[in-house]
Each structure stands twice: as C-alpha cells, then as structure tokens.
C-alpha cells in the first residue's frame, strides 16, 4: 500500500477536503461532547464496556460456540469463513441459490474490508448500497473517507450533479438536501420492495440468544433486514457480546459517541427466523480474516474492542487534516492506525503506527477505553527500522548504558558540533522537520563535580 506520508501529502493539498473535514469533525465533536456531558455515569458505562469486551476476547471460543448454537436453535444457518474470499464465496452461493442478479445491502465496514461488492460483481451479482452516503460513493466509483459520514468529502452541488447524471431519471434537481434525500428514497424504494436477498453487517451479535443488532439512522438497515425473504449477515468474530442485557451498556455508549445523539433513529434486533415477520431464511457468516492474529497479541488485542463509533477520528489532529483516504484502509483514523497493521501484518502497513502525534485525545473519547497511544507505541516497536537508524540506536543504547562512555560522548559531541543544525547522511530525516538542539556548554554532572565535587 501507499505509505501514509505519501498519501497524506495529496490529501493535504486539497483545500476543499480540508474545509469539509474541519467543518464536519468539529460539528460532530461538539455534539458528542454535549450529549456525553449530560450522562452522569459515563465513566462507569465506559468501564463496563471495556470490561465486557475484555471478557469476550478472553473467552471468545466459548462465546462463538454458544452464538452458533443459539442462532441454529432459532432457525438460522451459521457459516464460518477464515478469510474474505471464503466469506464472499458463501454470500455469493446464497445469492446464486436464489437465482438473483441484485441484492440490497446495508453499509458495513466488515463487508468493505473483504471487498464483498467486488466479489459479488465478479460472480454476476450487483450489490446495491442503500445507505445514502454509500449510494453516492457507489454511483461515483468513489470510496468512503469517514466511518460514520462516508461522503464527508463531498458537498451538496457535487451530489446534485451526480444524481442528475445517474438516478434522477432526467428530472431537474436543486442542491437542497431534502430534495436530494427524496431522490434517493424514490430510487431505492422499488429496490427494497422487490428485493429477494438482503446483505448486512451487524454492530453486535449476542452469544446468549443468537440475536443480531444493526444500529442506524435512515431506515435502510430496517429495509434490508426486514423486507427481503432471504438475509445474509457477515459478522466479524470480535463483534460478540455475552448477554442480551449487555446491550444496555453499548446502546448508551455507541449513539452518543458516534453521531452525538442520545439514541440513533433505528436499532433493529432479530434472532434467527420469526414466522410471519421478516426474512424466512437467515444466514450468518462468522469472519476471521486476521482477527485471531490480532487476538494473539495481548497488548494489541484491545483494537478488537472497537465498536466503530468514529469518535477517535473526529478528535484526531492528524485525521482532521488528512481525512480517511490517506490511511489506505476501510478503517481510518487512530483506530485504523492500530487495527489495519495488525489485521494485515505490521510489515504490510508499517507507516500507519507513525500516523499519530500520540496526543492521547483518541483514548480520552473512546467509549470502550481502548488505549490507542500505547498500542501505537507497541506496534512502532515491531516495525522494521532502516539499517542506519538501527545501528545508531544500538550504539546509543551502549553509550547510555555506560557512564564513562556517556561522558566521553558528551565531550566529543561538543567538540565536533558545528554551526549546522542538521544531521547529515542516512540520519538526515531526523532533522528534516526539526533543528538539532545545541549541546550544553557544560553538563549538569560537570557542573556538580566542579562546584561540589571532591
């Protein structure tokens, strides 16, 4: 993948993008702060959220089996997928079994992660994205830049032009958001009413009952999970919660952290198949795709606690300037900087752990208390350093570990110090963006032995 600094440079040159981002992130950040402040037990809820997720990770094998049994008992079918290709094949098989060329789909990061739409298209099945922003991006061949507001980088006149080119059926549109939303409603309504197969992700899966939960705003999630006779849900294995009652914690944490609302407009919960209500055939695909690798790292594991609220994006000084595309992954921002390298292997995303100033704002707003700065440092330690830096660090370690070497090196540095404030040669990148500080004329130790020494 393109390294973060390279991709970020392009984003930073786009002043429209930076303007949109600043606007959007500031607005959501302030809304979040207001609704969080009115909850007297916010810290207790965060702590409960963290502890529940830690328990899920520690006993994930048991919860997976319990979830499988519960779903089957309720009339659903459970599939397991080691990677994206296996999951995509399962979904394609279901679509083919019902002989459809179109499925309606609700926005899901997990299915974006495994490239489900592309895989279905290759198999002759068109997945219609029904989330308003996702529809915009799909119509334009673009991809999301924010977890929650995927088209945050698009303004209303761009959307108007796009709709007139694609779904407006020759009608003239204004750039009024109301009219644009109505255009999407009209276009998608027929699709929903006639859909045979729906595809979704899920925010949570309950081990105790086999219940799946989709949290949303527009109603397209309800449409996709209710109207088609057949439903397939792709669920990352880390999304489980032990009990139904645990939702009382997460349904308080998620909406306030995410959209800054006390509660999102619609949350749908369903368990297997209910006769006379909703899909009569239900499949859930349990997806690994690198998650067990993340699980095996006891420090990095907490990245799997993420409930995808995107609060960390909105407060991050790096994300707020570069936007989501620079992270080269469906998981942008601080959470992406720790999740992507672990899912793909650090060697495949080695610039991401450095895409942070370690200011800690992400940790502070995280509703499940993921210590993102610590995980970033932990991952930085695993990235491969270049040879010169490695040799320099090793020598420094030796010098710092021996008092005589240390004092000798200080004298040497002072003697060899020139007027230049830059380090030459292979270590030049250290001083590309900062000046080398001058060495002290006299060290503390020298002063001490001169003044107080024997």
């Amino acid at each position: 993948m393109t390294s973060f600094p390279e991709a970020a440079r392009i984003a930073l040159g786009d002043s429209q993008l930076r303007h949109n981002l600043r606007n959007a992130t500031t607005t959501i950040r302030d809304k979040r702060a207001r609704v969080v402040a009115e909850v007297p037990d916010w810290d207790e809820l965060r702590e409960a959220g963290r502890a529940i997720k830690a328990d899920v990770m520690r006993r994930l094998d048991e919860y997976l089996l319990q979830f499988e049994e519960s779903v089957q008992a309720a009339g659903g079918q459970v599939h397991w997928a080691r990677d994206g290709a296996e999951a995509n094949a399962i979904v394609l098989d279901v679509a083919r079994a019902h002989d459809v060329t179109e499925v309606v789909k609700v926005k899901s990061l997990t299915t974006d992660e495994i490239g489900l739409n592309e895989a279905l298209a290759a198999g002759g099945v068109h997945a219609i994205e029904t989330d308003f922003a996702e529809l915009i991006l799909q119509l334009d061949g673009d991809w999301p830049s924010h977890i929650l507001v995927p088209a945050i980088h698009r303004n209303r006149s761009e959307i108007r032009d796009l709709f007139m080119r694609t779904i407006a059926d020759g009608r003239e549109l204004s750039d009024d958001p109301r009219e644009l939303a109505d255009t999407a409603r009209l276009y998608l309504r027929e699709k929903f009413l006639d859909a045979k197969v729906g595809v979704s992700g899920a925010n949570f899966g309950i081990a105790e009952t086999g219940t799946l939960v989709v949290v949303e705003s527009e109603g397209n999630g309800r449409m996709c999970t209710t109207l088609p006779p057949v439903l397939v849900t792709v669920l990352g294995i880390e999304k489980l919660l032990p009990t139904f009652a645990d939702l009382e914690v997460f349904l308080q944490l998620l909406p306030r952290s995410s959209t800054g609302e006390r509660m999102n407009p619609y949350t749908s919960l369903w368990t297997g198949v209910t006769i006379g209500d909703g899909p009569q055939e239900f499949h859930v695909v349990l997806l690994d795709n690198g998650r067990t690798r993340v699980l095996s790292d006891q420090v990095g594991r907490q990245a799997l606690h993420c409930i995808r609220c995107s609060a960390c994006l909105n407060v991050c000084p790096v994300y707020r300037r570069t936007g989501g595309h620079a992270y080269g992954s469906v998981y942008p921002g601080p959470i992406g900087a720790i999740l992507t390298p672990q899912l793909r292997g650090v060697a495949n995303a080695k610039s991401l752990p450095y895409a942070s100033s370690l200011c800690g704002a992400c940790y502070e707003v995280c509703p499940v208390k993921i210590d993102i700065p610590s995980v970033l440092l932990h991952l930085r330690a695993q990235t491969e350093k270049d040879v010169a830096e490695r040799i320099a660090m090793r020598s420094l370690a030796r010098i710092f570990g021996n008092v005589r070497l240390y004092e000798w090196a200080q004298r040497l540095a002072r003697a060899g110090e020139g007027p230049a404030r830059r380090v030459p040669g292979p270590l030049a990148s250290w001083t590309q963006t900062r000046d080398l500080k001058p060495f002290a004329k006299e060290t503390f130790r020298e002063w001490w032995s001169r003044e107080r020494g024997a």
Binding site: T27, D41, E44, L45, A48, A51, I52, A54, M57, R58, L60, D61, L64, L65, W80, A81, E86, F132, A133, V149, P150, A151, N155, R156, I159, A181, R189, F192, D194, E208, T211, S217, E218, G219, N220, R222, M223, T226, I237, F244, A245, E248, L251, Q252, P255, E261, M263, N264, P265, Y266, S268, L269, W270, T271, T274, G276, D277, G278, S296, Q298
Partner: protein
Amino acid sequence: MNEARDEILARTRAAIREGTPPDPLARAYRTTGVVDDPGRVALLGERLLDYRARVEHTTATALRDLLDEIARGDRIGVPRGLPETWRPANSVEDDGLSTHELDALDGVITGCTVAIAETGTLVLAGGEMEGRRALTLVPDVHICVVRTDQIVETVPEAFAALLGREHRPLTFVSGPSATSDIELERVEGVHGPRTLIVVIVKEAS
C-alpha cells in the same frame, strides 16, 4: 465448512491460551431512574420533540377522537391485535399485506412495549398491538400510542422490561428516519417513515 470452523476455533484458542483472566466486571452504572411519573412523561415528550417527532398528550376516553383527527380519513394500516377503539374509520388490518400493498397505505397505528424517556425511544417488540416489522417501516407515517405506565426513565430499565422477549424481532425507534450525510445537515425521512406521531395516553386511574 467444518474445516474453517475448526481452524478458526483452534486459532482462537491458541491466541487466548496465555494471559491473565479478565478483571471482574463492574456494573456501577445507573440501572434505575430518579424522576417521578409526571417528570418521566414530560421528559419523553421533550426528547421526542428534539428528534422532530410530533407529540400529542391525551386521555383514554379522548384517544379515539384524537386518532380520527390525526388519520383524517386516510388509509391507515393496523396490526391484528389493535383494539377496536384505537382504529380510525378507514383502517386496514394487516392480514399479510404485500410490500407493495403496505407501500400504498398512508400510515400505520400501533402500540409499543416500552418507551425510554431519557433517550426518547419507543421499543416495538412484535406484539399483538405492534404487528410485524414491515408494517411500521413501509408506510410513510407512523402513529405510535404509548401508555404512561409503559414509560421508563433509563435504557437498563427498558432492557429489564424486555426480559422474556429477547427472541422476538425488536425495533428501537427514536424519532423519524434521518440522514446527515449531506454536509451534516439533518434531513428527516429517508427510507423509514418520514413522520412519527407519538400519542401519550394518560392511564385511567
């Protein structure tokens, strides 16, 4: 695909074999409310208005007239278990209407199972007076009748009230459908009902 299942379980077990047991789970958050009955009713109304829902207060005896007035003779869908006295003149009972038939309705009237004041949320649990999920989804206007004794203050209280209904299809509704995807400007009504009317009925004591 039993091979994939076995391998994922084996990888999971290998990944968590080492490490400390998780800390005991502390549920120190609020599980009960503190507001009195009238306060709870007022709070629910206020929070729903915040979402730009329409809120009406009435009594059991005046309910029928109010529902007739709201329905204005439109074709209103109702679930099978909805009491006669809640049905406006031109109501259509949902006896398995197709999606297109549902789309042709002007609105729908239902009850709910529990309402959460603090978050302005109505919980539909597929009961006799709530109907199946499609009924409250496809028509453009949802009129939901809430009895004051169904209103709780906090989210945990609602989950306590849902005990025994975990396996039913559940929908949490907090205001009309909405999107803020265009420059973060909120627009009510994308795919779900664009109008939500909540009728709060004071119980006869």
